[in-house]
């Protein structure tokens, strides 16, 4: 007879979305996996130069790993890299977007909650982001699909206020109500209504049906992009109850044309000047 509580060990694929140091040389790794949802585990001695695991268990890497379940932190071993996404590692813009994507995957995942579509989506978007010349649309595709997968698909054909079918025209978007609001039936006292032009609405509808290749082949204007970005983010903030930490850096990198030589002036430490 074996002992009563034999530890469960399994091998899984996973994407590293968070790392932190533990003790002298260990590292705590957070992975998004297809079957086990979020998995947190310890990689022993992973920070030592000779570690067989350290190089594999870095952020934004798709790895295969053996997980030994314990009551607290699981033990990780036998790691190999499936895809290291090098394209996300030598470009600040792609790195910042990859960070946003992984943070969002973590926020939309739960421990022990199998979510194969979310995992598949994460891999698809990371590989696209690595090479695509339209990373903006890859991000919007991901935002839209995550909302759909988690049951918060934006309502884009009927007014969420009046229920009537929307005429092809400029309308508004309410993140609170989760969809478009007819310009005429604008609810009284509602403050958080975002503008949604006819072109933006067309883009939203397109994104809700397109696959990632179609989405990144779509070119859009500045104005539509800005509206799209505000609407999708507002909806995500509403679902998650707060913003994402990685947004600030992504926005900073994006708005530095030609990599300006100043550090952002938007922070609190401008007081000593």
């Amino acid at each position: 007879m074996t002992s009563k509580r034999r530890p469960v060990t399994y091998t899984t694929d996973g994407v590293v979305v968070r790392t932190s140091n533990l003790g002298e040389a260990d590292r705590i790794i957070t992975l998004i996996t297809p079957i086990h949802g979020i998995v947190r585990g310890v990689a022993k001695a992973a920070r030592k130069p000779g570690s067989k695991m350290g190089g594999h268990l870095d952020l934004l890497k798709h790895v295969s790993v053996s997980v030994r379940e314990t009551r607290t932190l699981h033990g990780l071993s036998q790691v190999s890299t499936v895809n290291g996404y090098r394209g996300l590692r030598d470009d600040l813009d792609r790195f910042s977007r990859g960070s946003y994507i992984s943070e969002m995957a973590e926020r939309f995942s739960v421990e022990n909650g199998a979510n194969q579509p979310l995992f598949r989506l994460l891999l698809d978007v990371l590989s696209t982001l690595e090479v695509s010349d339209n990373p903006e649309m890859a991000i919007h595709f991901y935002e839209m699909r995550l909302l759909q997968l988690s049951g918060f698909a934006p309502e884009l054909s009927r007014c969420v206020e009046s229920g009537v079918e929307l005429e092809p025209a400029n309308h508004l978007y309410s993140a609170d109500r989760g969809g478009l609001v007819n310009n005429e039936s604008r609810p009284v006292g509602e403050t958080a209504l975002l503008p949604a032009s006819l072109n933006t609405i067309k883009l939203l509808r397109f994104l809700s049906r397109a696959d990632i290749a179609q989405a990144t082949a779509m070119k859009s204007g500045e104005d539509e992009n800005r509206q799209l970005s505000r609407i999708l983010r507002a909806q995500i903030h509403h679902v998650l109850d707060r913003g994402l930490r990685s947004e600030a850096f992504m926005d900073e990198v994006r708005t530095r044309p030609g990599h300006g030589n100043g550090i952002g002036r938007t922070t609190s430490d401008s007081s000593n000047e």
Partner: protein, 214 residues
């Protein structure tokens, strides 16, 4: 986090100390308990010395005005050392990294401690690091090379890229510590980025004059 979670049955002063140890990096509940019970058995004078050492660190240690390394005065000993090469700055993440590079005894330039790395998922951006202070040091043209010695992981690399883009336009040379296979490791277990970097920064094996078979 109430202390009762970690030491439910301990007397309040004991629980308080266990809780304090538990807040330190890398100390789990078991270690926190072990350290606490060790301190309880410690002679009074030793315990007082220990407490005084903790207070002394908080009272007397500051960050160097120039390099942000841990110092006892507004200028640290390295910045104040006139023998050291002031045309080179080695940029590191944490004060402990200065200690590590110093231990190698091959570098005689100055340092700059960032106190972190760019970590978007943790909400740490360039403005949270000592980058403004680094730019300030490059202003008078003394420094010719900035060696970026952040950790060779994604966030360390991203921080290095950011520094390169920040400093590059100033005409200062920006270099990065070479990355490759660690001594004593097996190629079989190397991850793809380590192997790629090792290949990129491969070096020619020097020709030997003696012992070549004809």
């Amino acid at each position: 986090m109430p202390s009762s979670d970690i030491a439910p049955s301990a007397a309040p002063p004991v629980a308080r100390l266990i809780e304090a140890f538990h807040r330190l990096p890398g100390i789990g509940p078991k270690s926190a308990q072990r350290l606490t019970y060790h301190l309880i058995r410690m002679p009074q004078d030793e315990a007082e010395e220990f407490a005084a050492a903790i207070l002394g660190v908080k009272e007397r240690v500051v960050l160097c005005d120039t390099c942000a390394n841990i110092a006892e005065a507004v200028e640290c000993t390295i910045c104040g050392d006139l023998q050291r090469d002031s045309t080179r700055i080695c940029v590191v993440e944490e004060p402990l990294d200065v200690v590590a590079v110093e231990r190698a005894r091959v570098y005689s330039g100055k340092y700059h401690v960032l106190h972190g790395v760019i970590s978007p998922v943790n909400g740490v951006g360039p403005n949270d690091l000592k980058l403004r202070e680094l730019l300030e040091r490059l202003r008078d043209g003394t420094v010719v090379e900035v060696i970026v010695a952040t950790n060779p992981n994604l966030e360390g690399e991203a921080t290095a890229m950011y520094i390169q883009q920040l400093i590059g336009p100033l005409g200062v040379k920006v270099t990065r510590l070479a990355r490759g296979l660690p001594s004593g490791s097996d190629i079989e277990y190397a991850d793809d980025s380590t192997l790629a970097h090792a290949l990129e920064s491969r070096a020619e094996i020097p020709q030997r004059q003696t012992g070549t078979p004809e």
